[in-house]
Structures are given as structure tokens and as C-alpha cells.
Symmetry: C2
Subunit: 484 residues, 2 copies
Amino acid sequence: MVTKMVQINLKTKDIHISNLAKLVSGPNAILYKDEDLLAYDCDGFTIKRHLPRAVIFPKDTHEVSQIVKYCAKHNLPFLARGAGTGLSGGAIPLNNEVIISLVRMKRLLEIDLENRRAVVEPGFVNLKLTNSISDKGYYYAPDPSSQYACTIGGNVAENAGGAHCLKYGVTTNHILGLEVVLPNGDIIEIGKNGIPDAPGYDLLGLLTGSEGTLGIVTKITVRILKNPEAKQTVLAYFDKIDDGSKAVSDIISSGIVPAALEMMDKTAIEGVEAAAFPVGHPKDIEAVLLIEVDGITAGINDQINLILDVCQKRNVREVKAARDEAERGRWWANRKTGFGAMGAISPDYLVQDGVIPRSKLPEVLAKINQISEENGLRIANIFHAGDGNLHPLVLFDSRIPGETEKAIQAGSECLKACADVGGSITGEHGVGIEKKEEMRFVFHDHEIQAQTDIRDVFNPDYLLNAGKLFPAPGRCAEVKRELK
Amino acid sequence: MVTKMVQINLKTKDIHISNLAKLVSGPNAILYKDEDLLAYDCDGFTIKRHLPRAVIFPKDTHEVSQIVKYCAKHNLPFLARGAGTGLSGGAIPLNNEVIISLVRMKRLLEIDLENRRAVVEPGFVNLKLTNSISDKGYYYAPDPSSQYACTIGGNVAENAGGAHCLKYGVTTNHILGLEVVLPNGDIIEIGKNGIPDAPGYDLLGLLTGSEGTLGIVTKITVRILKNPEAKQTVLAYFDKIDDGSKAVSDIISSGIVPAALEMMDKTAIEGVEAAAFPVGHPKDIEAVLLIEVDGITAGINDQINLILDVCQKRNVREVKAARDEAERGRWWANRKTGFGAMGAISPDYLVQDGVIPRSKLPEVLAKINQISEENGLRIANIFHAGDGNLHPLVLFDSRIPGETEKAIQAGSECLKACADVGGSITGEHGVGIEKKEEMRFVFHDHEIQAQTDIRDVFNPDYLLNAGKLFPAPGRCAEVKRELK
């Protein structure tokens, strides 16, 4: 592969920046001035900020490999970044990293409908994939709420979920192959040609969700699915949140696997109704369920009727079905912009991401309510109820001294509540820098060690995305660079 | 945990055997005489045989850990074994290993219907799980043809598939948590409490399918599913195998995901009709498809009608639906005993296990036919057509000098044909010792190295199940013990 070298006259005394600039082609392929770097000092997790050394924009795998080799040779910390929508701080340059931004690598390389797969570059935006194939009757299933902006490379790093992952699984269930630049600059292909269940160790699974600590994904083969023949979406309003929780459990127990089964509590409803996409939810209810079923036309009504029965047994106040695709779209916009909607009722909010066995929903929601009262902070709940993936949103005002810390503490207590009932501290947002300490809620030291040992195989000099994901210092350079 | 120590008066001069015997409780907990060891010199892959040093039968995790610690301390090679039904030689003691048999650890520890999971010990037989919960309306999805005998621990090691994995996924998609004894004797828990998508690296995925080279699984949390409300099973007979192949592609393209979509060719039909479970397949056809759909009652007929349309467009000779559960059972017995049925038409057979993109079915089946002719050996095909997972069965007679080698060669050529169209060398049987060299068809040296580096993290002294899965010697003790 031949890369056109463009000599740029950089006004910098940093020799590494000058040298790195020679490895990428095209205009504006490197940023290094403080005013340009400011936009890269955090991602969707805005509570901690650090400036990178530079931000570099390779156009292909070869350029990524060259940059990585340069950083490895000169002992420069580096990390990869997509759209920066991550919610746990995985792309924050804690160590003044060189950020390798993959937004220029945004091509849709191949669509293979016959074998149900597509190949994309990491900077390709999630929703664009479905938009590119929907006229042919296909779609890409993982649908994080940020799908209009987030990139598939970032989705792979975080093993992103989404509302429809209840039925269709999270990102890892839809990745068939990866091309990866390792921290030494070597390029490997995993799950070649999109044949899943490849021999050898499951490196696909290992890389997916490794939060950018094992390698940089430069090409992704994903599974695409045929559009369901029919779908139906309903809203169910409950006076009592406990009834809503129990309805969730009952629906799953009935044998139906809804495409999505979302829940919002009273505070969340107040937020979404005050924000950009209100849909007229009653404000005096304690819970709304947004339930979607899909499949072949003949079976849809049976599923809906079963769900109606369950809801009625749980004292539902009202159930209504979407009259058309437009109404369905409005309901989903109301739900998917829910986190941001908290801005309408609070100066700041912190979103958390715990997972619990579904049967523990009433217990944990009560506990979150208690944490809210004890900390004197409102907590809204918007979540993927069907798979027990909670998103407590701690509302706070960062202008009030001490309140940010209190919000972080309340968020951590929510995760502890999840871990205590046999759950976990993240369903889809990742650990990043946000939940490093909370890893101790679910892992013993030697279990964390088993994982950092694996990291050290891939990332022995610990130059790639150091200080993320694990609480303990590794045995490598991390000790030196551990956060102040 | 307290283990009852039973002092057994062993007639052996092997001090290690005497010492190991003290670590396990109960009668007959260790075998060491040659006549007893003979039953453990191979598994379902019978072409290579080696005697173990001993076979030891721990009753719980603590005993496994003690045995492993003893082996690690005294540098004794060891490996774990379940029912020994594996087809790639993963449990063959190439290095005179101490075999740790897990058949005494066969308890069903927990059933949690509300959260759809069950906890089993590794020696629990696959089919028994479904049998234990079917009266409550649930089942365990992965259904290898050996499910009446194979154990779930072995299924995890091999990431076993099965006919119904087309719709429901292979073993790795149904494993929620593992307790694992590492090669140093440490015990770790992964995916605690059966919460999937745990934070940190996907060790669950890494361990699942690692063919017993990274650790010994001692407890398994699996996902259980609600029985489908209805299912329907049909047989479709095609005069031309090409038409059958194209029907497979068309069915998948239509958007239906059948629960199972199996194919047998003319030679395979000759075998199954001559064996224990004939069902009256016509002998002059080139292909039969066994198609099963499931779901809610209302939709089943629509799915079947769509499949009928597709088959008719592809010149099907006859389609018939199972009249009742008994007939369905007979059809599945006919299919699931298909490998063994080859014994009715050939003294020996070698089963292979390649994966291809579905669109390449006609091309690869033609190539297999050519390999058959060139080697002068009949090859039957019984396979999971829906997911492109081929099982060429090379028929041969080991009494004819040179024919075994020729069969191995033909099997390898079939895998090459799969790799050449962008496929893979194993779908569900694993690599073991059988396909080590064929790993080179799909991986470059540095890609294999990335995997053996991971193995060395878990298994640094390479005492656990050495000489399996990878072609190249590792950097550890393997070099010393590499096969003659």
C-alpha cells in the first residue's frame, strides 16, 4: 500500500508531532494547538478532562499501523477515538496521549446480502448502516441511543447495547470479523471473511468490549438482519412502579421475547416531557413501559394480546398501540433522547449503567430510591427493563460545591446495589475511567489480575489507552503513569 | 471445604499416583493399571491413541484444584475429560497426561426459571438438562448429535454446536457464567451469577471453545429457554443436489430463520437408511432437507408455506410434514445418528467439519465430489446447511494399507476447499490434534502467535493439555514435549 506523504509546515517545536504529521495524508490530518485540542479533552463522560498531545486522523489501516509503530518506538502513549459519544470516559487522554481519531475511516466497504454481512471502517456511523440497506429490506441490529452519531468502531470497543438488544443481542453478537492494529503496529485479521465460530481462541469476543486497551479496530465485518415482516409498539402506564416491574418479569416469563422492553419512572417522564420530544405521557403515573414486538405478521397480534393480559393482571392504567410508523418514531425519539432530556429538569446529570437479574427489579428500584433520599439528590430511571439493564440518572448541580462528588458517590452506591443482588456494574456503557474502582464490586484481585495479564500480552508497554478499565496498576508502565 | 481423605492401598510404585490418590475421596477414584487406562487412550477421534499416566475422578472443585496444584508442583502433564465424545482428539493424552475425569461432578446445582438460568457441574449430560426442565416448559438449546451422552463441560471446551444452533446459536451464546480452575490451581469465577456482558474482558468467550487448554471448568451457569409454543418439521426431497443447495440459500434469504435446516446427500441417505433408524427416504434422490420451524402457533403455517414456495421454485420432488411428535422424533433420530450410520456402509469413516458462506454451497459440494473421485474414496455429506457448516464423511477401510492416510488427506483437502472460498476449518468439532496443521489454512503465523501468547498467560508451564489446537510449538515446555 502506498501512502502519499504530505509535508506540512507545522508551527510546533514538538518533533514527534512533526514526525507523526508525515505519516498521514491530506489536509488537517493532525491537530496540536491547545485551542484545537480542547474538543478532545473528554468524551460523553464529562466529569474528568485531560488534554491530548495531538489528534491525528489516519485515512486507512496502513496509516494507523505507521502511527502506532512510531508511538511504540518512541514510547508515546496513544489511544483510538471514534465519535466520542462513550459514557464512561474510555477515550479521555489521561496520559497526554496522541489520539488516533478514526473519523476519516468511514467507508462502507462491502454489502453482501446473500451471506447477510457488511464490512465497514471503524468511523462509519452506526445508523448509516441501517439507512444504507433498509431499502433492500435489511438492518443492523445494535441500536445504542446515540446511534445517529456513534461509530461502529466505538461500538465494538464498548460492546454497545441498545433498546433492541433484548431480543437481538449486543454488539458482540453481531460482529463476524475484525481487522485490528495491535499495539506494536502489527495487523491481524480475526474471524476472516465473516465466518463466525472460527477455530482457536475467541479473539473476536476478547477484542469486542475491550474498551480500546488491546488494539485498534480498523475494519469490521458485521451481521445484518432481514427486517421483520411486522412490528407493533405499545405504551403501558402503571400507577405503581412495582406493578410495572412485575409486568416486565411476567412478560418475559410468558415466553415472549419482545424486540424491546423499556421502562421510565416518574422523574424520567417529567424530564422527557419537558424536553424536545414530549409525547403526552401522563405525569401522575409511576412507570411507563415501551414494549415492541416483531416477527411475521400472523403472530404479532397474539403476542400483543398476551402482553395486554399480563399488564391487566398487574393493574395497568392504560395501554395504547402506536397507530402508525410516525407515532412509533415519536415514541422512540422520546425514549432515545431521554438521557439528554434530563437537562430540562436539572443543570447536570450523571448516568449509571448497572445490570441485575430481572426478578430483583422491585428490590433494586426501592434501594435506588433510598440512595436518592439519603444523598438528597433526585434519581431518574430510564432503562432496558427486559434485560435488567438499569440506567439510574443522578440529577445534580455542579455549581453547588460538593454536589458533583455527591452525585458520583450516589452513582457508585447504585452500582453497589446492583452488584449486591448478584448483578453487574455495566451493561453497555463500559468501565472506562468512571467505574474502575467499582470493578472490585464484582471481581477479586486475582480475577482482575487474570485480565490485566491478558492485556499485558497485547499491550506489554502499556502505551495504548493506559489507566482504563481496571483498578489495580498493571505490572508494566502503568505504575509510572498511574493517575495522580 | 473439607475433603474426606481416603487412604487407598494402591499396588503401584509410581509415587505420584499414590499421592494423587490421597487427594480424591470415594472408591475407585483413580485408575492406573494399563487394562483400565486403555479405555482412555482416545476420544471420539480414534485415529491416534496414547495411554494416560492415570485417570483420576475428583468429586468437587476443591479436589480438582488440589489435583491441579499437585500436577503443577511436580511438573506432571494433565488434562480434563468429560464423556470423551469429542471428535477432534482434544482429550487424547499425547504426553502421558494425568486425566482429570469430571464424570463424577454431574450434579444439577440450581434451576432458576424466573431468571432463565441453570447451574450445572461439568459432568452433567447435555440432554439431561432439557429432560430436567421440560415439564416446566423450558429447554437448553445447544443440541450436539451426541447430546444423549456428551457433558456440558465438554460442550463448553469445544463450543459445541448442534442442529438447532442455526436459530439459537452455539454453546458460547448460552453460557452465562463459569467457575474455572486455572492451570496453577487457582479458582476463578467469570460472569458471576449468570449476569452476561460482565465488565472487563470477555473471559467467558475466551474460555468457551478453548479446547481445555486454558483451564478446567468446574461449574457452569447456562441460559435456558422457554419451549416454543409450536414447531413444525418437514422433509424436502430434491432430485438434484444443486437445487437443494439453492433452496437452502433461498430459505435464508426469504427472511425466515428456521430452528434447524439440515441436509444429507445421496451417499449419506444410503447410510442412514441401512442403519438403525431408517425412515424411508427415497434412495434415488440427490438431497434431502430436514427443516424445522418454531415459534408461536399463529405464525407457523405462514413460515411453512413460504418454505414450500421456495422448494417448489427449486424443483422439489416431494415435501412432507411430520404428522406428530413421534414421526418428528424418528426423523431426528435418523439424522442425529447419521455419522455412526456410515458404519452400515463402510468399515471406517472420518468426519470433517468445515464452514463456508452459504452462497458457496454448490461450489464446495462439487469440489468435495472431485476430492472424492481423485482419492478413490466415497464421501457422504450430512450437514447443518442453514449455517454453512459442512460435515463431509470420508468412507474408508483401515485394513487396506495406506487407506487411512488417504482418508486423512481427503479430509484435509475438504477443509482446504472450505478455507479457499473464505470459510473455516471447524464449525463445532474443534481443532484438537486432528486439525492443528489446517489452522495454517486460516491463520498467519503471527495470528497463531497472538493466540499461543494468550495460552501462555494461563498455561505458562504448558502442563495442561499440551500439543492441541495450534500447529506451532509454543515458547514454553511444548518444545520439549512436542509430538514425535
